[in-house]
Symmetry: C2
Subunit: 280 residues, 2 copies
């Protein structure tokens, strides 16, 4: 049984509970981070911490937990070698449900747990993802990592029913991102293209590493939206996220991307990104 | 101390807790209803039940709780005479956090609690609401009553800071709804106008009663979007919701609506709506 960290205490996972008056539960007033764990170490923490602070500011959550020692001990107590560590901060347990922020202020609810998983040996890195395009109907403030995730859940359910691996979302004629990761193409000219980081997409931590490696490889990197037509004409396509690292896309709406097999640039980006994580 | 109903059991409110792996908490995969209670009876239940079923279908939540006896007993146990009864259904406590729906399926988490409040003797019915206009940045599937409510929370906080009572939301040049209620005008021609019930707004239960009473009063009722300019030129404006019933709007972005005092049609709609609830 896992040990979960809840509001300063390590507890068995079956005892980790929050009030039915928690504002995360009633209003989705809640933010989170997912950090990859390799060789028992969690990676990229400064980027996750910076984004968490931005997300909390938008969601009007105030908390100054020092997460680094918490996550370190949580990983040790659970003996986690490879996988993810998840943390969530909600606006706290209110005395009663009401839209206005409680006055006086209440303490945030703070949760962290580990998830064992094989990040490196992922069969989808070999086979590639088959995806579909779906309209992006999410809220407009997507640069914050909040738990407004129902649309992502709905899309994951639809893609499973469609027999594919994921959906990429389209808004105003351009691809924004995947259901829970950033989306990229290597376009017909060999340029790496991805939606700019604005309120339309999450500023992915993995994305920072991917863009930096792409430049090392001598690729031109353009942060601009791309259309479904550019996606269909792309040499390669891939997604990136903290739990999946870099995964090639081989098929979109039943049509092959490039050769229909994982692309060589994507494979090299994944290889180098894994090396970057291991070197931390 | 209140008694809360949780998954079939009546418990003290301090013991009503859900797992940190609840999909309502992690993903906002959760729907709710708020029903007015007058003279110890909860009102309009068939409409709330029908909407709850539609919300659950969209959010992919399966549950067949027979709510009527649950809410009846909960109100009795808490001795509630006037106020609201709130219920929430989440996609349940998963064995671990993951976007895909758990397979095999897990039972929904079901919560209900009462809130004592004075619905009838509301000073805002006399003074009217002062509101501001804000962009509607919420997700596009607003006809379902889900807990994707962070934007509403943010707007409530902004309006408090601005020293006003509420915000009405504007998208593509038209008013959609208030932060947590439906929005209406009596336009310059004496017509009752409100955004049509589509994916842009919640199909309010109070709204059904309001529209029916308006027709009884001989008002023309048009379900169509209205612009901020039409709002500024309106004779009257008001909002409706299960907790607020009908409340006049007297000022928008610092400009008076009509005479700047609560309008006579709004007052009559509120009076008749209260009578309708009391007659149930």
């Amino acid at each position: 049984m896992r040990t979960v960290w809840l509001n300063g205490t390590f507890v068995p996972e079956t005892e980790a509970k929050v009030s039915v008056f928690d504002r995360g539960l009633n209003f989705g007033q809640s933010v989170y981070e997912v950090t990859p764990v390799l060789d028992g170490h969690f990676c990229n923490w400064p980027h996750h911490q910076a984004r968490l602070e931005r997300s909390m500011a938008l969601a009007r959550i105030v908390d100054d937990t020092d997460w680094q020692p918490v996550l370190t001990e949580l990983i040790a107590r659970n003996g986690l070698v490879e996988g993810r560590v998840y943390l969530q901060v909600t606006a706290g347990e209110a005395p009663d449900r009401a839209f206005p922020l409680p006055d006086p202020a209440i303490p945030a609810t703070r949760i962290a747990f580990t998830q064992a998983d094989r990040l490196l040996d992922n069969p989808l890195a070999e086979t590639g993802l088959r995806i579909v395009l779906r309209p992006d109907l999410r809220w407009q403030l997507r640069s914050a990592k909040t738990t407004q995730l129902l649309y992502a859940v709905m899309m994951k359910a639809e893609t499973r029913e469609a027999g594919v691996d994921d959906a990429w979302l389209v808004e105003n004629g351009v691809v924004t991102e995947a259901t829970s990761s950033n989306a990229y193409i290597i376009d017909a000219h060999g340029v790496l293209v991805s939606h700019p980081v604005d309120s339309g997409v999450l500023p992915g931590v993995t994305r920072i590493g991917v863009a930096s490696i792409a430049r090392e490889l001598g690729l031109a990197v353009e942060e601009r939206p791309f259309t479904p037509d550019e996606l269909f004409a792309a040499r390669e396509a891939f997604s990136s996220g903290a739990g999946t690292l870099v995964l090639p896309v081989v098929e979109v709406d039943g049509r092959p991307i490039g050769s229909g097999a994982p692309g060589p640039i994507t494979a090299e980006l994944r290889r180098r990104y894994v090396a970057l994580l291991k070197a931390q």
